[in-house]
Subunit: 352 residues, 3 copies
């Protein structure tokens, strides 16, 4: 990356709120993993699993927590090393800026409003009445339905769909193939049907929309269904991984984190800062309190209090789940012990 | 929504097969959730969780089951209140009708056949020999492969893919990003390989297709693989939620309901009206009988009889699973009790 | 399929390394399932579940393992019958060959390099500096980002996305809607935030890329995230089913098989020939040894040794898991037996 950005180590430290241990004049020209970093690179160490790589690294500097400030090499010491790393890496890898343009191969409906500073790439489609805010980028194949609104400084990666009437805030990132505003899964069973139809599932119109608030990120091929009447909402600053399902009328609280392949059924409300780990599921019409955590593959079937941690399927408090798991593997042995007890009691003249 | 549809309450009741309790002349101009409804709106109450909202609602009328016909406000009483709500809501939110047109930015192969009443939006692609029926809408980014056929009155939302040779019936709705006709996952392990290749997984051609019968709906980013030789079939009136996997040569029976993130492995056959709840999985080559139900996150590894309800992973009859779950949390305590029994038996002179 | 390929049975056998039992001169004009095959078709029998269909088939010949060579009809006998079937079927269903062309409705950036023998279909997008190798086909709606490289003889089905800087090898197949190079899910919690922002999840730049090696296949709507700094790698000859999540910095070893809806969290490394069954999950920063197998819906939370088989969530050795499952259903009964034992011991004068 010749000609890329370059910083003095002490300059980097000042910009991210850290301190230098070692040579503040060291020149940093890139960011690299511990194993691959060279003398011009800064690297990052926090997970103890990688201590050997940390000790062997050829990096020009390493971002560490205060406890790791000692040792031979240069250190950028920060109380939240991961945050410092994120900020340093952003200096070297700034987000792509919009190049104001509407590609001649794009389709922008005459009744749509696209900010002059926005970038609309080929085969992007902006429907009637849709709006695109300042400096927002629509990559190829993005489809905004009628009246869909996208705010400022957003990145909508290729083949993202925002269906009619949905609203996306500012600084939102939608990874490729993500779908906002698909119909919720609502059907009323009609055992008689119409003339000739026989029994059928009668579609309940999904007449609400989706609101994606500011600073949200949605992962690749993640789906957020529109509400049946009201709106489905993903709150400010929430981050959602790939292949996540958010059903109709769900509310995801601000700053929540939903990991890959998690799913939330209809009308469930997550508080602020809720964490769903990968492949976790939550059934419908529940309340999940602020800061609750749900372990991977957990199945939540009841309301969860603020701050609680759940595990298991169906779920229970995680600490209890851990205890159950610890003894679960001893279950076959337990069955044998009970059988022996029964024999022993019988030998003693008892009737088990 | 000035200028939108407006009905007398007794007119609505007559149209959906219900009866009025209260003022049949009340004017209804919209549908809204209990909390948000005003005097011009009709709302809906069935889930007891929302009784407080029902009692506090300002709605001009509420659709209810017969048991809730009493009380002060206007009621539209129907034996299947949810179905009545669906029909009322459809009167206020009719499905989008096709505007006959082929957008100049669309691609329609000269050998394709598109009904004159169909609507083909920009960047939709209709391959050679493909067919699009009357009043069907292809939204932007839809891709129909060679010889793919789509019937009448269908909605194919943005970025839906129907690969070559697949057939979609009438009144089918495909949500955004849904894929019909991807290759099934079939490989034969070839330990020798060819010259220079080493061991390899040899691809088994997926030469069949997919048949989506009439009145089916498939969710956003759901995938239905084409058959290896014969066809994968989703039967009449089945409804499939988002992010569902339907593998090659599966048959989904008519009127089945597959919830979000469920998966069905190859060659498994579901009967009529089968329900798979969210994140449930069914392994391959099984028979799942008519009306069987599978709970959320369940893993089905054996045939299931008609009408049975399964839970757990691997699955068992749901009632049994519930009993196991009920005692599972007592397992750590049970281990302690067995240890105490062993000590007690020993004190009694027995040998546990 | 008049005019399609046609072979003598002994010719087919010679081409796939098998032997004929019966009439080698039999004319074979197609491949069909046992139930549907006619006298001109060859079929395949290996799964004992389908023995009745095998015995009743009208197929002109059946591909079988050596143990099934007897009986009345013509047989193509091969030691690996499934592989022989795959090869025979490929003779009848050769992969689609590229028709050298760049559609006028495609977008190819002036700085991109597209091989003259490649086929670029309408609404495919090849970004600046991107490369497309010989005989590769980009179906409609495929998006290659800036500097993305795709090798020779690849099939990129409709609406596939390969984001900027990612590299795809030779003979790779990407099913529709598959995403390569979405941002990994990395955020540092910033409790203070900037002026006015309040607490936030600060995005960690995902500055690495994805490398898809030769002969890989990725399923429909599957997602492979780009690395945070280094690359995410899917190794040579690995096959990945639909709706699979591969997180940032994961390494999938050569010849691995990942079934539908499986998920791998960040930085985990799979060895060669690892198998993850459907809906299985593996947490981050683990090592999964060569040839390890993970059962469906399993949740792996620790390193797994080469050749090991894991089941359960959280996982344990599969054999142990099977034993636990076998007794799990007896747990309610076990609780009763312990209660009876306690009473019996009490009657004997002991204190349980």
């Amino acid at each position: 990356m010749a000609g890329g950005p370059s910083f003095r180590l002490d300059d980097l430290a000042a910009r991210v709120g850290g301190e230098v241990a070692g040579d503040g004049a060291a020149r940093i020209e890139g960011v690299a993993p511990l194993e691959e970093a060279g003398p011009g690179d800064i690297s990052f160490f926090a997970n103890r699993k990688y201590r050997a790589a940390f000790e062997a690294t050829r990096a020009g500097a390493v971002i560490v927590e205060p406890g790791e400030a000692g040792g031979a090499g240069n250190r950028l010491v920060a109380s939240n090393a991961y945050l410092a790393f994120a900020k340093v890496s952003t200096l070297f890898h700034p987000p792509r800026a919009a190049v104001p343009d509407v590609a001649p191969q794009a389709f922008v409906h005459p009744d749509a409003r696209v900010a002059a500073s926005a970038e609309i790439m080929p085969f992007a489609h902006v429907g009637a009445g849709a709006e695109v805010g300042a400096r927002t980028i629509l990559f190829p194949g993005v489809v905004l339905g009628e009246g869909a609104r996208v705010g400022e400084d957003c990145l909508l990666y290729p083949n993202v769909v925002v269906r009619e009437g949905c609203r996306v805030g500012d600084r939102v990132i939608l990874q490729p193939g993500c779908v906002v505003g698909s119909d919720g899964f609502g059907f009323a069973f009609d055992v008689q049907g119409e003339e000739g139809s026989g029994p059928r599932h009668y579609k309940v119109p999904q007449a609400g929309a989706v609101v994606i608030e500011d600073d949200v990120e949605l992962g690749a091929n993640t789906c957020v269904d529109r509400g049946t009447l009201g709106d489905t909402v993903v709150g400010r600053g929430a981050k959602v991984d790939n292949l996540v399902q958010i059903a109709h009328n769900v509310a995801v609280g601000p700053l929540s984190l939903l990991m890959a392949q998690a799913g939330i059924a209809g009308s469930t409300r997550l508080g602020m800062g809720v964490i769903l780990a990968g492949q976790a599921g939550v059934v419908g019409h529940l309340q999940i309190g602020d800061g609750a955590k749900v372990a991977a593959q957990t199945g939540v079937m009841h309301d969860v209090e603020a701050g609680a941690v759940e595990g298991g399927s169906p779920s229970m408090p995680h600490a209890e789940w851990m205890k159950v798991q610890a003894v679960l593997r001893r279950l076959p042995e337990l069955v044998k012990r009970v059988r022996q007890l029964e024999k022993a009691v019988e030998r003693l003249g008892g009737k088990p």
